[in-house]
Point group: C2
Chain length 333, copies 2
């Protein structure tokens, strides 16, 4: 029998309890994967205490935030860092990551919740809920009628877990889906694929745009005036951002919400978060602010995350590379 | 060949143009139904002008509001009045309707739009949008997380077109549906059926309640404290009313929105409409006000309504009774 794989798990006590990778969470996941999993020796830490000692012999680190760089660089046996989140922009650039150490995220975890959120968000834009929220603040009875959402078109920008979950919701509702993605291979949830540099074309005449982009140097303000102005103006449609705040140009969006070219927007991500009390977006008309709730399901979050870990572990155990949800050092996602 | 059926259509110019039964609308519908329809002689009027003359020989009247009673009582050949709406509470009681004259509504017309609205409303309650709208007014970042909507339970009160469309949406989203309906026959969209006097039982432990009741003397304030207090308290759930305002006890609802027993509500119907500017509901916390937009699709409204007329006409032409969407004189719907 081969030597057990040495795994260290670190939890951050300032993070929500449902996200922690403590012994309880680990044992619950192990129960489901015991048959498939390789033999492991496991240790647990909090807030990076004792990480130097743990990484003296650990091969795999599972953690919730960027590890202390010095500890990582001294960890001679380390082969793989598994992050318990999807967006790893806080770890970029990856120049601190030693060659030969793989970095994975929990891609896939957020699918079911995001699918439900996207369905709601599309419905809300179709039924003019951002406009109605503004009207309600003004005590104004102001109906605006549209036909059915079935048959409308949505442009989904970014086509990973969040994008595919959004497309899944849209297809169930009878929409046409245009996907903007680097990888141009056909996808069953997309009626058409566009590369990132054809974003404006992808948005042309679309009723809805859902942005699910990760934040990388290449995606900052990627969705802005050009995409907005290509969309169908007015009507029961609009813009959703569930990626990261800075990937969308909110100043350009605000201008178009003010003059009605974009009928409504639903934003789930901001910079910074929480959005400060005095931020003008709170008062913006035709805008619904969601406090980063579109994708996390606390009751399943850490178990679904550990399921992704065990999927990767199967690949790791047989020496496959890249791992299933491995972050590309160039693109940063 | 038999004598053509004499039909008179009256439009009300104070109603929305997309609801009018003018010659254009009629001819467009006739085009679809020419083969099936009986031979007819048709006349058109506006705002009841010339209705006395038209009804001297008309067998069928198609109209948008309660006809002048005197004209109806003198209309010796009249056999059938087709209303171009679903809710006929403005015609009740039906003591003015001569024996032997059938009254039909456009039941079925609102299905596709209502299905989309119900899906959105369930999602909005699940994702706490009424709470978030209140938080946005206060510039407060206040996330509240739930698991998935799949697996939750909705009680649908009233199970005609609006109720079935709501149940249809709920089933697609993976909810369990309890239907409250006089007719207790099993229905493919309902997991359980309850009679009206078991409403409290039907609401017990439910996450959501969607009210689609017509307004009749029997339904006034039918959904109130007892049903609300039977529901699951708090959590990502709540109450929707797309029936008529007075069928729900809004004072009882407001009390529970204030103290949090009901997390949120989405109301589409009020008494009176439009809701007056000074009405306290505009300021109610955890409440989303929709200005009666849940069911009407202007681009298809009158054509779908006339499709219902032609369905009824087939039954009428062969002497079937009651007609397909005939209003029951006792229940008033």
């Amino acid at each position: 029998m081969t030597r057990p794989i040495r795994v260290h798990l670190d939890s951050q006590t300032w993070k929500a309890p449902h996200m922690r990778v403590d012994a309880d969470a680990w044992n619950q996941a192990l129960e489901r994967h015991r048959a498939a999993a390789a033999p492991m020796t496991v240790s647990f830490g909090q807030d990076w205490q004792g990480v130097d000692g743990a990484l003296a012999d650990a091969e795999i680190l599972i953690c919730q935030s960027k590890p202390p760089v010095e500890a990582i660089q001294k960890a001679k046996r380390l082969k793989w860092i598994m992050m318990t989140m999807a967006g790893v922009e806080s770890l970029l650039p990856l120049d601190w990551l030693p060659a030969g150490v793989a970095l994975t995220n929990n891609s896939g975890t957020h699918y079911p919740k995001t699918r439900e959120f996207a369905a709601m968000a599309l419905g809300m834009l179709h039924f003019r809920m951002p406009h109605l929220a503004t009207a309600q603040r003004e005590h104004s009875w102001s109906p605006k009628f549209d036909s059915l959402i079935t048959g409308k078109t949505v442009t989904v920008v970014g086509f990973g877990t969040l994008g595919q979950a959004s497309a899944d919701a849209a297809k169930v509702m009878g929409l046409t889906v245009r996907a903007v993605r680097r990888n141009q291979a056909a996808h069953p949830l997309a009626d058409a694929m566009y590369p990132p540099d054809a974003l404006t074309e992808a948005a042309t005449g679309a009723d809805f745009l859902i942005c699910t982009l990760p934040l990388t140097p290449a995606t900052r303000h990627m969705v802005g005036a050009a995409a907005f102005d290509a969309m169908k103006a007015g009507g029961g449609g609009g813009v959703v951002n569930i990626g990261r705040g800075p990937v969308m140009d909110y100043d350009a969006l605000v201008e178009r919400l003010d003059d009605g070219r974009i009928s409504g927007a639903i934003l789930d991500v901001f910079d910074p978060e929480p959005l400060p009390k005095e931020h003008p977006l709170w008062r913006q008309k035709n805008l619904v602010i969601v406090p980063h709730m579109s994708s996390d399901d606390p009751s399943t979050y850490i178990q679904r995350t550990l399921d992704v870990f065990f999927q990767n572990l199967e690949a790791y155990a047989v020496g496959r590379s890249p791992l299933v949800t491995e972050i590309d050092r160039e693109t940063g996602y």
